[in-house]
């Protein structure tokens, strides 16, 4: 197995006139990994990804992508990667299959348009003009265009922004397929659930700097925030008999006594103790929920901002 990183970035900087969009970031992406850049609008995600795609020159630092320097070996690099841009368009009167065949002709290697159309559920729309496609179909076509050269590395820049939840789920399914094919994917997003569901590792980026990096679970565990345990019972619990749960920071019983909420820094241990107590009391458990801190909580803790600010 190749141990060389597919992407290696050191002290990467990008300045537009006097604005520093990327302020010296470092990260590596391994082969077959889905790596997410998570951050609010204007955080520097798109600048970073566009430098790596060979679309913009960097102001400082080093970057290699598939062994190529994105500044100096643009054409070779572009021939090997797939890119799904945040905002793009095609001529209104271009048909779906024509677009795939045209873009396929730009690469030294391409896969059949028929295969791609079937895979991305666009076969029925192959003769449709671009202007007649829905938002989801246009995004599926953008993904098909990104796959037309059968790339081992894909850059997906906010692939689901502006799409409705149903279509977003469809796109998530397609990205999971790419992941199962062992393609390396770099994904930028400001949707938490997207990063949590799809990414092996996430870098949280804010004001041009990486403020945290790791697997979604590692980042959640780094959080100082507590998990929340919700317990619902068939009979009311007696507030006077409730014990002090281990590691619980706060507990609250509802007015009817049937619902208990406990905030804990070690939720597994706390939950075990609650279950034991309920059993001893002969209470009938109806429902239980455990909510861990999300990446959004981690982001708020680290930056003091919300992701969609």
């Amino acid at each position: 197995m190749n141990t060389q990183p597919v992407i290696a970035v050191q002290s990467l900087k990008k300045t537009y006139d006097k604005v520093e969009a990327v302020k010296g970031i470092d990260f590596q992406v391994a082969e077959g990994e889905v790596f997410g850049l998570l951050g609010p609008n204007g955080a520097g995600k798109t600048s970073t990804i566009e430098i790596l795609e060979g679309l913009r020159p960097r102001t400082g630092g080093n970057a290699t992508v598939l062994g190529f320097d994105p500044d100096r070996q643009k054409q070779q690099l572009k021939d090997r990667i797939g890119v799904c841009l945040q905002a793009t368009n095609l001529p209104a009167k271009m048909r779906v299959q024509e677009a795939l065949e045209l873009f396929g002709s730009f690469y030294t290697r391409s896969i059949s348009s028929e295969q791609l159309l079937k895979r991305l559920q666009l076969w029925e729309k192959r003769a449709a003009f671009y202007e007649t496609l829905s938002g989801g179909q246009k995004q599926r076509l953008a993904l098909a265009l990104a796959l037309v050269n059968d790339p081992q590395l894909l850059f997906l820049d906010e692939p689901t922004t502006g799409l409705d939840p149903q279509i977003r789920l469809e796109i998530h399914g397609l990205i999971e397929e790419m992941k199962s094919e062992k393609r390396t994917v770099v994904l930028t997003t400001h949707y938490i659930e997207e990063a949590e569901r799809l990414c092996d590792r996430v870098a949280i980026i804010d004001e041009g700097k990486i403020v945290a990096m790791g697997t979604p679970r590692e980042l959640q565990q780094q959080s100082k925030g507590q998990s929340r345990i919700d317990i619902i019972c068939g009979q009311p619990m007696n507030a006077a008999t409730l014990p002090q749960w281990p590691d619980a920071v706060e507990s609250k019983l509802s007015e009817d006594g049937k619902s208990l909420t406990v905030h804990s820094s070690r939720p597994a241990r706390t939950l075990f103790e609650i279950m034991k107590w309920l059993d001893q009391q002969g209470m009938q458990l109806e429902d239980v929920h455990l909510k861990r801190p999300t990446l959004e909580d981690v982001f708020v803790e680290l930056t003091g901002k919300r992701l969609r600010d």
Partner: protein, 277 residues
């Protein structure tokens, strides 16, 4: 080569699917052709019809260059279409060559159609050197498409592009002798007439159609040479200034590149002016 062929084939398909292209390339010049041919074609059959044909062809050439190549390139950049091409390994060259070749492939049948109609409906004699005439018109068409692409390269917005196109298009329509006969121009207007690039296209076509001249006659050869220089200069400058995204702005003084492309015509105009003096 695969890229070039694919782009040209796609551009032709797209052009033929757009009503505006059909209208401005075929219907609009044909409207002028039939309109003027009805009146002028009767009075002085040969001279009148040559005047009508050259006017209609000049309309088509200028429309194809400024609107077909220039404005369309700006539109594609503003709509984010060129941005999609930017992420692929292609360079601007296949796109620019594709635009030139597509414009030529779409326009040449129109010229042949017009010459045939002038001949069979209005009894205009066929040009003595048909092939040389088509080569001359082709050079004019590609030169003006090249100029259109330079305008697209230096315009930051559609608004700027439209202003630059109008500044070039209307003087060339009215001062080149295509619509108003050059014999009526006097004084400053006569001087300006000599500096209009379209003047040499109109004059060359009329020399070849009315006087039976070939492409190798001194005046026509000079005009063809200037057009070739414009094609080369315009091509190089379009490549150098090519922008894939509307966010990539160009400095104001870069607009002077338009004058650089027009330089061969300016020199030719100056020589003509000195000669007249």
């Amino acid at each position: 080569m695969k890229q070039y062929l694919a782009i040209i084939a796609m551009d032709i398909k797209l052009a033929l699917r757009l009503r505006a292209v059909i209208f401005f390339n075929y219907l609009f010049p044909l409207f002028f052709f039939f309109g003027f041919a009805t009146f002028l074609g009767r009075s002085d059959r040969i001279g009148g019809m040559v005047y009508v044909v050259t006017m209609s062809i000049t309309f088509g050439v200028l429309g194809s260059g400024f609107f077909g190549a220039g404005i369309r390139a700006i539109q594609e950049r503003e709509l984010g279409i060129l941005r999609r091409y930017k992420v692929t390994p292609i360079t601007p060259l296949p796109l620019l060559v594709g635009s030139m070749v597509t414009g030529w492939i779409i326009f040449i049948p129109y010229i042949v159609l017009m010459l045939l109609m002038a001949h069979f409906i209005y009894q205009m004699p066929m040009p003595a050197h048909m092939f040389q005439l088509l080569v001359f018109i082709s050079l004019g068409l590609i030169a003006f498409r090249s100029l259109g692409l330079v305008i697209a390269s230096v315009a930051n917005t559609m608004q700027e592009g439209t202003i630059l196109v109008q500044l070039c298009y209307f003087p060339m329509i009215f001062l080149s002798g295509a619509t108003i006969p050059e014999e009526v121009f006097k004084g400053v207007i006569k001087i300006l007439h000599n500096f209009m690039p379209a003047t040499y296209l109109v004059r060359g076509m009329r020399n070849m159609m009315l006087h039976g001249q070939g492409l190798l006659e001194k005046e026509n050869l000079a005009a063809a040479g200037v057009m070739i220089l414009t094609i080369l200069g315009g091509g190089l400058i379009s490549m150098k200034l090519f922008r894939w995204e509307k966010e990539e702005k160009i400095r104001g003084r870069a607009k002077l590149w338009v004058l650089v492309v027009l330089l061969p015509f300016i020199v030719l105009g100056a020589l003509q002016w000195l000669h007249n003096k």
